[in-house]
Each structure stands twice: as structure tokens, then as C-alpha cells.
Symmetry: C2
Subunit: 365 residues, 2 copies
DNA sequence: AGAATTTGCGAGAACGTTCTCGCAAATCTT
DNA sequence: AAGATTTGCGAGAACGTTCTCGCAAATTCT
């Protein structure tokens, strides 16, 4: 039995066994064109008999479509985003008949460049990208991608015509602050992770990833609406690294008028607060309150449960795939900017200072 | 300027522009065979000028190798395994010049079958599989894979000649029990997640995934070594679903002689314990002790920190890729069974009943 | 200087598909 | 019954590479 180079039987083997030509075999198996139902049956039997499986690479070559989506993502596994959105993307893609080629950038723009390059060389039909910086995006231009559609996820990029799926982090964070205010919190600290800062800084950097920017602005807006004066707000922007973020938390706590609550921009920062508070025997939800962005199993299961701004991560992934596939099928489709609602999930990590004002370390009666 | 079907310039375009033949252009760009250095320079310039990028699909076709690895995994994102091992695999593969096609099975054997099928059709050069069940594996036989190597990860499969990378869960769990014993724990409960059981059962099911089996046996061995009598052990095997596992925890706690400690087989079960304990206002590390398998950021940052059996997940991923690539390059290589050491990380979730015997609910003085 | 070797390059095949085209046989017209 | 149409199928090209082979020109040998 003649086999192909790769060891697998090819359509020629099927054709030979069925006593027909390559063309007829192909017609029978892919059911197109004119073919005698009898012959078709014969061919299918032959294919079955020798265990024929089509070579999708050859198909892709011929068709000019690989039925593959490239995913360029930040495999930052503490972030509770990567894993959920990846799963969602992989599953949704599969449902639409696409496979996913995944690459990781670790927030590095050079890695992102080369990842996009590689995926294009592998002839993916489209890309889903979580861009690592908003500063640079020439590698996502129409030509670099030679017309292949791209969907941006989690982060906006200015000056690029691409469908974007993000979440209403601004609203969520604004709401979070108002929630805390309604429970009596007046001195608030904000801990924001960003790659634009080396170490830590109390100054807001000029450039922030759009999602981080939205969160920052949301916090600010909420604070301003509640009439929290700037001097009652303490801000810290820092690198996303354990030692640094823990030091930043310490800085926030070690002041004459320490905050009653810390809002963190992501789960890494939240864990830093948890750790430092734990070391100092401070009880979350009592001695110190805490709100973060992104829900997770552990945030819900912990005691106290962490109050979070929850984002519809699975939906983000699904929509990204659906929009991408739609554009692959119709390249005239206009790009969309989609922003999905967030939700504040109140748990027990925010103390009620109205009912228990004595929890404020500055409380005197 | 003539462009290919896909819109990108092809090597023919490069050749035309450099005024040479396809063959020469190819030689110049891939640097093989005999070629005049001057011509090579010329060709490279031409390629640069028109922005030529090779079509890896065509290359793969020709070479019979796609430089792609297929990953079949359970995207169970609460398990702290999927995300870390995936990242490790993607990064390691990239380092060796391979891309990763990822598919998710959700522990479903039919999905696994079809995933393997699809990946083979996409002509991956090899597979990394986290098998969803140990009962079936004909889809991983040499013929189904038509000679493509496969590396099994996290779970053994009997009767299959494939390199396997697992961890010493047995030893880790045995150690965990001894650790608890040394801190005075005598009544122990074990909560094991398994798909072999509908709902929950105190009986050990006949068939367990190998890693779960190892953990179960490790717990048993530890208990037996410490002389913990069967009646002082309570066991619960249950489905990996929140409602069920939480009910299972409740069952374990609601007895005349409740355990002082619960050992859980994975993070989902751990979270269930956390949740139920929290609802009952039981404090982990005091009213109830807890040990689980698999470390995570949150287990470390929580108060109290959760004592865990830590597995070298990144190493698992890296070795899986390295072994797979080695076999792809030399198909005569014998399969290896690799078992990597685990480590017990003691934190504060296990109470010291020797120092504080009064923490045992059955303590009387 | 003539023979032997080396060098550089192009023609063409191959990888495994799909699809266009044409042709013969079968079927349908009137 | 003779033309018109339909049906079923095979030959061959194409997708974009790489690689074998042969051939002419350039170089080295004696």
C-alpha cells in the first residue's frame, strides 16, 4: 500500500483503491461538483478502509485559508484573565471550526512583534491580540498583517482600525469607590500596576495601558464624585512584581493618616495587599478594606470574600472570536468598538465603617 | 508587482525582482547549496524591499514537518495547573522553534479524541496530551498518530509506549499527612475529586486518574505509617463541581467526631473547604486545618497561608516539550517515564495541636 | 594548452490537496 | 432517430516552497 511522505495514506491512495481518479475521490469526500452517488459511496468506503485523513496543510495551501486563528497574549497566570479568556477563545474557535495557535509575549513588545510575524508566516486567517503596549502598533497595521483581520482584546489601541473588545472598567471602578464611600470610607488608597514605571511612583505616568487608564480614571471619578479630596487619596503606581508591590503597599499603609481601604488594579496587587496585611496581622474587612478588579474562585472562597469589579471574561473571548471570524468571512465589515459591562460584586472585604466606626484606626470617641 | 493568492509576495516575486530563478532565490534566503555570495546579497535585498515573508505552510508541506506541536489539555482554570503548564509549554516550544496549537477537552474523552484527530490532520509534528481518562487510549496509539510522538503529562496511561512526565504526588501527600501528624492531628478527612463518581461517595472508586490515585495512595500510606486507624479517617470522593464538593465538605464535618484536618486532592476541593468553613465561621488553621495539592499565588498570600504539596509545574511543561522535540528529531528514542519531585510547603493552615490542644473540638480538660 | 574539477544557476519535480475544463457516454428532447 | 442536453469522470494546473539534477562557465590542475 503506497503511503505518503508523512506515512499517512493520501487521497491518491484512496483513489487507487476505489479505482477512480484523484479528482473523483476528492469530489466524493468533500461532496462538491457532480458525482455519482454510487461512486461516492465506493470512495468513502475505500477511505474508511485505509484510514484516510485529509492533510489540512495541503488544503490550506490550496484554499489560501488555514482555518487557524493566532492568539497573542500575555500569559500572566496570576492575572485570572489569561487562562479564562484563553479557554473561552479556544472553545469558541473550535465551535466555529477553527484551531488556535497560541503565543505568549510576557508584556514584551519585541516578543509581540515576532509572535505576530511568526503567526502570519504560519498563515493564520486572523489574529486576536492582547497588545502589550499602546505606544507601538505598526506591527498590527493592515500591511504587516497583509489584510488579515485582527481583534484587540482587553486593551484599546489608538489610531488603529481594528475591532476591539474591552470592558467597562471605568464604570466598575467608579462604582467600587462609591460603594466604599457609602460604607463610610473616606481615606482611600489606590494601587495601580503598570509597566510604565520602574519601581514605584506616586505620580501617575504619562502613558498607561488603556484598561489600566480606565481603572485609574474610574477610581478618580468615583473619588471626585464622592467629594474625597486629593489629600485624602493616596496613589501608588508600581511595577507588577511581588517585592515591589508589597513595598508599595507598605508605603501606602505607613503614613500618619493611613487609608481605610485600598483599591487595587489587578489581582497581583490584591495579593500583595493580602500578604502585607497578613504579615502585619491586619484583618481584611476589618482593619483594612480591599477591592480589586477581576473576580476569581479564590476571591469568592476566601474569608472574607474579596469585593471585586467583575469582568465578563468568557464573553470577551467569545465575542473576540465571533467578530474575528465574521471579518475573515467578510473583509468589508467595519471594525467595531465593543465595551462590555462590568459588575461590582460586594463581599466582605469592605468594612462597614458606618455601623462600626471604631474600625477606622483614626477613630476616637 | 505580482502578488500571491494570499496577497503576500512570494519567493517568485523576490526572484523576479532580483533577476534570478526561484531556486536561486530559495538558496539565497535559506542559505543552503552553492550560491554566489553576491547574488545572495542581491536576493536578500530584493526580499527586504518587497517585504517578503516565507509561507510556512508551503515549507511544511514540502518538508513534511510543520514545526508545530499540538497541545491537548484540560482548560480547567481553577486548577492552577492548566495555565502554568500551558505557559511553560508555549514558552519552551517557542525557544526550540515550535509553535503550539492548543485544544481543550474539558475532561471529555470524545472531545479529546476529536482534538487529537484534528491536530493530526493539521500535521503537527508531535503531541502533548493531558489524558482525560486512563480507561481509553486507542486514539493515542502509534497508528492513530501515524508515528508522531506523544508525551503524556500529569497522568500516566497504562499499556502505552509514550514518554510521560508526572510528579511525585504519592510522596508529597504521604509527607503532608506525616506533617499533620507531627503537629498532633489524629482525626483526618480526605476529600478527593474524581470524575469516576456521580455526586459523592465514601467508597473509593475502582478507577482513578493516575495522579489522583497517587494522591489517594499517598494519603493512605501516610495515615497508615502514622498509625491512624481507618475509623479515624474519613474519605469522600466526589465530582469536581462546587455544589457537590461543598456538600461533601459539610458531610465530612457533620459527624460526632469531626476531623481536625482536611486534605484535599486539588484546588477546587480546597476552595470548597474554604467556603464551607467560612460560612460556618470556622477559622482555617485554628478550628479546622487544611492541606491541598498544588501551590498558587493565592494559597501563599491568604491569611492563613495554605499548606500545600507543591509540584514543579513549569518544569513539567518544559521537560514535556524537550522530550517531545527530542523524539521528533530521533524517532528511535525510547520513551521515558519521568517523575518529578514534589515539595511540602508548610504555611499556617495546619494548626499545631501539640502546642494548642484546645483547638481540637473534642478536647476536654 | 588541454583536461579535470569546481562553481553558480535554472528547469522541473514534488509535497497533497481542490478545482477548472473538456470529453465521452448517457439521457432527454421533438 | 438525430440533435441537444445532462451526467460522470479524468487530465492537468495551481497553491509556495525546497531540492535534485544537469549544464555551462569559471577555475584549477598537469
Amino acid at each position: 500500500m503506497p503511503k505518503s511522505k508523512t506515512g499517512r495514506p493520501t487521497i491518491v491512495d484512496v483513489a487507487d483503491r476505489a479505482g477512480v481518479s484523484r479528482a473523483t475521490a476528492s469530489r466524493a469526500l468533500s461532496s462538491y461538483g457532480r458525482i455519482n452517488p454510487e461512486t461516492a459511496k465506493l470512495v468513502r468506503a475505500a477511505a474508511e478502509a485505509i484510514g484516510y485523513r485529509p492533510n489540512e496543510l495541503a488544503r490550506a495551501m490550496r484554499a489560501g485559508k488555514s482555518k487557524t486563528i493566532g492568539l497573542v497574549i500575555i500569559a500572566d497566570f496570576t492575572n485570572a484573565f489569561f487562562d479564562r479568556v484563553t479557554k473561552s477563545i479556544v472553545d469558541s474557535a473550535r465551535g466555529l471550526g477553527y484551531q488556535v495557535l497560541i503565543t505568549n509575549t510576557d508584556e514584551d513588545i519585541a516578543a509581540e512583534r515576532s509572535a505576530v510575524e511568526t503567526l502570519i508566516e504560519k498563515q493564520v486567517d486572523g489574529l486576536i491580540v492582547v497588545p502589550s503596549t499602546s505606544a507601538v502598533h505598526d506591527h498590527l497595521s493592515n500591511e504587516s498583517l497583509n489584510g488579515k483581520p485582527v481583534v484587540l482584546v482587553d486593551r484599546r489601541l489608538n489610531g488603529i482600525r481594528a475591532t476591539t473588545v474591552i470592558t467597562e472598567d471605568f464604570v466598575g471602578c467608579e462604582l467600587a469607590v462609591r460603594h466604599a464611600y457609602s460604607l463610610g470610607h473616606r481615606r482611600m488608597a489606590f494601587l495601580v500596576a503598570t509597566a510604565s514605571v520602574k519601581g514605584m511612583s506616586t505620580e501617575r505616568p504619562a502613558m498607561l495601558i488603556s484598561s489600566v487608564e480606565d481603572r485609574t480614571n474610574g477610581f478618580l471619578q468615583g473619588a471626585s464624585e464622592c467629594g474625597i479630596k486629593p489629600k485624602a487619596q493616596s496613589w501608588m503606581f508600581c511595577e507588577d512584581a511581588p517585592e515591589i508591590s508589597e513595598a508599595a503597599v507598605a508605603k501606602l499603609l505607613d503614613t500618619a493618616k493611613p487609608p481605610t481601604i485600598i483599591f487595587t488594579s489587578n489581582n497581583d496587587m490584591c495579593l500583595a495587599v493580602l500578604k502585607v496585611a497578613g504579615n502585619r496581622r491586619m484583618i481584611i474587612g476589618q482593619d483594612l478594606s480591599l477591592v480589586t478588579v477581576d473576580d476569581s474562585q479564590w476571591a469568592a472562597a476566601m474569608v472574607p470574600g474579596i469585593t471585586v469589579v467583575s469582568r465578563p471574561v468568557e464573553l470577551v473571548g467569545r465575542l473576540a472570536v465571533e467578530k474575528l471570524v465574521a471579518q475573515m468571512q467578510d473583509s468589508t465589515l467595519a471594525p467595531e468598538k465593543i465595551s462590555l459591562p462590568t459588575e461590582l460584586i460586594a463581599r466582605q472585604s469592605v468594612a462597614n465603617l458606618i455601623l462600626r466606626p471604631e474600625l477606622d484606626p483614626l477613630f476616637k470617641d
